[in-house]
Symmetry: C2
């Protein structure tokens, strides 16, 4: 049985191997992706983002726990901002502490960005497609951080959860503003702590049409309600429009990467040295390369 068939049969080891191929071999992984693609589109993609300290990992762990009790197969993709420099060790370690690490019904993957500009959205998309092809029922994509990339990745999901927690300080509150607009569901974690009521009022004042669910991820309170709110959104109208919008973004990015492949003979370092010393301006170089 070839690798694609093994992935389609739900073999998690084959899935892991396919993931490594897609991450490392770029274009050479295309035949595999092409073969698997028609078998995708059935899984539910849930993006989980929010400010640092809100307890996203604990929440993901609880979601996985509940979904396992319903006998769903669960994929977890942890997008790790530390990776370009530290090799993803930080989040990798955190992942290994999850109680589901040894559960064959849960497939966990930490995505390293490896310093590539713009590459993480593509890599995350392809990993999610592989998991989809392997028959995982729900994929939880956790992004750590509040930057543009994290926001884009969260948007790639069918439903995006923004996790907030009381008592994170004014500046963190301000940062949240950037991710408020992408929320399909707000989850207030640590909702037993002081400030949770005020936070809930503030959210409802800012985004009155988005459901707000209070949880205490550390003891599992409210997790069922949060999943119910997510499911309601999954079945709401607009899912197809969202998928089209997402694919439109991805196609543009994939085309850009593909086009650049034809220019692999350019010595960018040599060109950059000339630009740095102002021997030539970058626009003249672009004209030369593309004429």
């Amino acid at each position: 049985m070839d690798l694609a068939d093994r992935v389609l049969s739900g073999d998690l080891r084959a899935l892991a191997r396919a993931g490594t191929i897609v991450e490392n071999r770029g274009r050479a992984a295309e035949p595999l992706m092409r073969e698997l693609f028609p078998h995708t589109g059935r899984t539910q993609l849930i993006g989980i983002t929010g400010a640092p300290g809100a307890g996203k990992s604990t929440l993901v762990d609880q979601f996985a726990h509940h979904l396992r009790r319903e006998n769903k197969k669960v994929g977890i993709i942890a997008v790790d901002p530390t990776s370009p420099f530290s090799g993803g060790a930080l989040l990798g370690d955190r992942i290994r502490m999850l109680r589901h690490y040894a559960d064959p019904g849960v497939f966990i993957r930490s995505m390293a960005t490896r310093g590539k500009l713009g590459g993480i959205a593509k890599a995350t998309t392809e990993m999610a497609l592989l998991m989809d092809a392997a028959g995982l029922d729900v994929i939880l994509i956790e992004t750590v951080g509040v930057g543009q990339d994290e926001v884009e990745i969260a948007r790639l999901a069918d439903v995006t959860i923004v996790v907030l927690a009381p008592g994170m300080g004014d500046d963190v509150q301000a940062i949240k503003a950037g991710i408020m607009e992408i929320a399909d569901v707000f989850v207030i974690n640590k909702s037993d702590q002081p400030g949770a009521d005020r936070l809930e009022r503030d959210i409802k004042a800012a985004e009155s049409r988005v459901p707000v669910v209070r949880v205490v991820a550390t003891d599992g309170a409210g997790i069922g309600e949060a999943l119910a709110a997510i499911r309601e959104r999954l079945h709401a109208a607009g899912k197809r429009e969202r998928a089209i919008e997402n694919w439109s973004l991805r196609l543009r990015e994939m085309l850009r990467d593909r086009l650049l492949e034809n220019y692999s003979n350019i010595n960018f370092h040599e060109a950059a040295a000339k630009v740095a010393s102002r021997e030539v301006d970058p626009y003249t170089l672009l004209d030369q390369w593309t004429s």
Copy 2:
């Protein structure tokens, strides 16, 4: 006098207009950039990044204040992660509260990402080049957030400052790990607060070769020392290698964007609808477009 000449003469209104042209008109702004480029390369670019809540804006304000006392002309570029959704209003408001807003020796610009994948590094680069051409002596680039984009932008500077503060919690500590490696200078802000000593020890244990300066940005303590540490790094070896590395990244990105321009006739929305319904796979589409 044409716009380029006015920018070169240090006319800040012309600089603002040039910035708007570069931000909004894309390729049509190239003749202007091409004319100004040979006159750039003299300014000092200082990137300031760090976890939310560390007090970066206050620090930038203090740096600007000190540099103005030395009669330096200062540019401030605030990269705003909230912009794709809220139009940059948040940071824009914060900027307007800075005491230098009315000082003609300080030029402040808030950069909106406008939801474009990968575009913010290019936009920031071009804005910095314009400020450089206008004769600003020092440019402070403040990035809010801890994502991949923010880290890339911080790296585009000649010197990168990572701002930390005590008492930000374990998760925030963890996030910091992702930006530790890009620091040329660490600044511990709020260094009069509990935990500052431990934070300093932790940083020194992790990155022993990077200078650590303690400041209290709200009252200006330590700002002179921080600027001295930054200047020492600016004059250290490796600056040219770094500029080449940065231009190498930027050239690759510029080429990618340029190549995509030839495909403006593609109806990505229509193509995305076919992919979303699995009528066609994205790889087949890419083959068709580029064959």
